[in-house]
Every structure is written in structure tokens, then in C-alpha cells.
């Protein structure tokens, strides 16, 4: 059984890489994937704390977060497709008008 510190540290590394990816990349698809990465880091923490406390709440909420991530990614990818049809680009620094 891994130690709690190891789980927390791996989760911290995943979350940091996700934040860095959201902040530095220009491609919307990569940014969406990095958001997924951050949600997974949070899920890992939830599972580890469920294991620590011996209750099932953490795992149940990890399952709910997984479903929420699926909803989020479907909406995000639909937005990407609509944006690409409209503006012919998916680079976030070229998408800077509210009126589209």
C-alpha cells in the first residue's frame, strides 16, 4: 500500500503540469486536455483520502467528478468545432473578440 505522502506528491505533480499547460499552450485542445489532467489529480486525492478514512465518500465523489468531466469535455469540444467553423482557428490568442 503506498504511503499518503507519495499519493499526494504524485497528485501535486499532475496538477502542476496541468496548470502549466493551461497557462502556456496556445492550442484549445491541449488546454482542454490539461483541464482533464487537473481533474484527474483531484480525483487521485479523493481516492487516497477515501482510502485513508475508510469511508466510501471519496470514491463516490471521484465517480461523480468523472461524469462531470465527460460532460465538460463534450461541451468544450463542441465549442472548439463551432469556433473552428466560424473563425478558422483554434489558437486562443487569435480568439479575442466577444462578438465572435
Amino acid at each position: 500500500m503506498p504511503s499518503m505522502n507519495a499519493v499526494l506528491f504524485i497528485s501535486f505533480l499532475l496538477f502542476s503540469v496541468g496548470v502549466a499547460g493551461v497557462l502556456i499552450r496556445r492550442n484549445v485542445l491541449i488546454i482542454l486536455m490539461c483541464v482533464e489532467l487537473m481533474l484527474n489529480a483531484a480525483n487521485l486525492n479523493l481516492v487516497a483520502f477515501a482510502r485513508h478514512s475508510g469511508t466510501v465518500a471519496g470514491q463516490a465523489f471521484a465517480l461523480l467528478v468523472m461524469g462531470l468531466a465527460a460532460a465538460e469535455v463534450s461541451i468544450g469540444l463542441a465549442l472548439v468545432v463551432a469556433l473552428y467553423r466560424k473563425k478558422d482557428t483554434i489558437q486562443v490568442d487569435q480568439i479575442n473578440l466577444l462578438k465572435g
Binding site: M1, P2, S3, M4, N5, V7, I10, F12, L13, L14, S16, V17, A20, G21, L23, I24, R25, R26, L29, I30, L32, M33, E36, L37, N40, N43, L44, V47, A48, A50, R51, H52, G54, T55, V56, A57, Q59, A60, F61, A62, L63, L64, M66, G67, L68, A70, A71, V73, S74, I75, L77, A78, V81, A82, Y84, R85, I90, Q91, V92, D93
Partner: protein, 183 residues
């Protein structure tokens, strides 16, 4: 299975965790979008392995089905739909990259400081242990699917129902957003 897992679980977790971080780094720093997706897939599979070593078997299988089976394929569809080769020569990173890296590094250093104090400080708090007992009668480790289903359908039924409504809204919204103008 269980004595073997108890003996090797720690090393397995380290291996899977490092694989997850390596996949995440490949996702952020690769030039080709397909390579990014492969890194994402590696990371998700490794996180599923981490769930297994934490004896959350149901979540591990759900992770495989939802992420490796569904979301990666969805990303691949959109990458094929959007012509990526057009964007290749225009540079990978945004203008604020240096400031962003500085901010992330500062936050990461702060958290590393917390870890450092937890591990090495003289009056360090006692490390948390991961035990397998459960107060409510079901053993989370031994009867994982039963325990999770009781948690979702008995303990947290309202969040589950709200999630189903959110999924319905996402379904309709995705169809409306992605359909062409003239029908």
C-alpha cells in the same frame, strides 16, 4: 492477489505515478497534437493503475472506460476534424509563457515547502496511513463495487441525480453547438 498487492503496491504506485507524470509532460510539451493525445492516454492509463494500487477497482475500470475509451476518442475525432497542420509553424507557446512559468514555479515551490516540512521537519506531523477498514459494515477494499454503489445510490443520491441532469444538458448543448447553421 492481496498479499502480492500488499507487498508490491508501494513500488507499483510509484511506477504508475511516474508514468502518469511522464505522460502529462509529453502532453504539454509535444509539438504534434496526436503525440499530445498519446501522452494524455498514457497518463490516464497510469492513473487507472494508481487507482488499482489504492484498491479502488471499480474506479479504475470506470477510468479506463470513460477516459481511454471515450474521451481520448472524442479528442482524436476533433483533431482529425480540425486541420492541425495549419497551426504548426506559428509557435507553440503563448506570449505570457515566462510569467506563467514563474507563477507556477512559485506555487509549486510553496507546496514543495509544505511537503518538505512534512517529511523532514523535527516536529513533523505523523504521516497519514492508508487503512482499509470501513465503519459502515462494508469493506471498501474487499467489496469495492458494492461499497461504491451504496455510497452513490444511498449516501449521495442527490448529487448523482443532479449529475444526470447536467449530462442531459451537456448532450443537448453539444448537439446544438456543433450542428451546422442550415439544417
Amino acid at each position: 492477489m492481496d498479499p502480492l498487492l500488499a507487498a508490491t503496491g508501494q513500488y507499483l504506485f510509484h511506477i504508475f505515478g511516474l508514468m502518469a507524470v511522464a505522460g502529462a509532460l509529453g502532453l504539454v510539451f509535444s509539438r504534434n497534437a496526436i503525440h499530445s493525445i498519446v501522452g494524455f492516454l498514457l497518463s490516464m492509463l497510469a492513473v487507472a493503475g494508481c487507482y488499482l494500487t489504492l484498491s479502488a477497482e471499480f474506479l479504475a475500470v470506470a477510468q479506463l472506460l470513460v477516459y481511454a475509451g471515450g474521451i481520448v476518442v472524442l479528442f482524436l475525432f476533433v483533431v482529425m476534424l480540425v486541420e492541425m497542420t495549419k497551426f504548426k509553424e506559428k509557435g507553440l507557446f503563448q506570449g505570457q509563457t515566462k510569467a506563467a512559468v514563474a507563477v507556477v514555479a512559485a506555487g509549486a515551490l510553496a507546496i514543495v515547502g509544505v511537503f518538505w516540512r512534512t517529511w523532514f521537519a523535527p516536529g513533523a506531523a505523523q504521516a497519514l496511513t492508508l487503512d482499509a477498514g470501513l465503519g459502515e459494515g462494508l469493506d471498501v477494499a474487499a467489496q469495492n463495487a458494492q461499497a461504491v454503489s451504496r455510497g452513490v445510490f444511498a449516501g449521495y443520491l442527490l448529487p448523482f441525480e443532479i449529475l444526470s441532469v447536467i449530462l442531459l444538458v451537456a448532450l443537448v448543448g453539444a448537439v446544438v453547438l456543433a450542428k451546422t447553421e442550415r439544417v
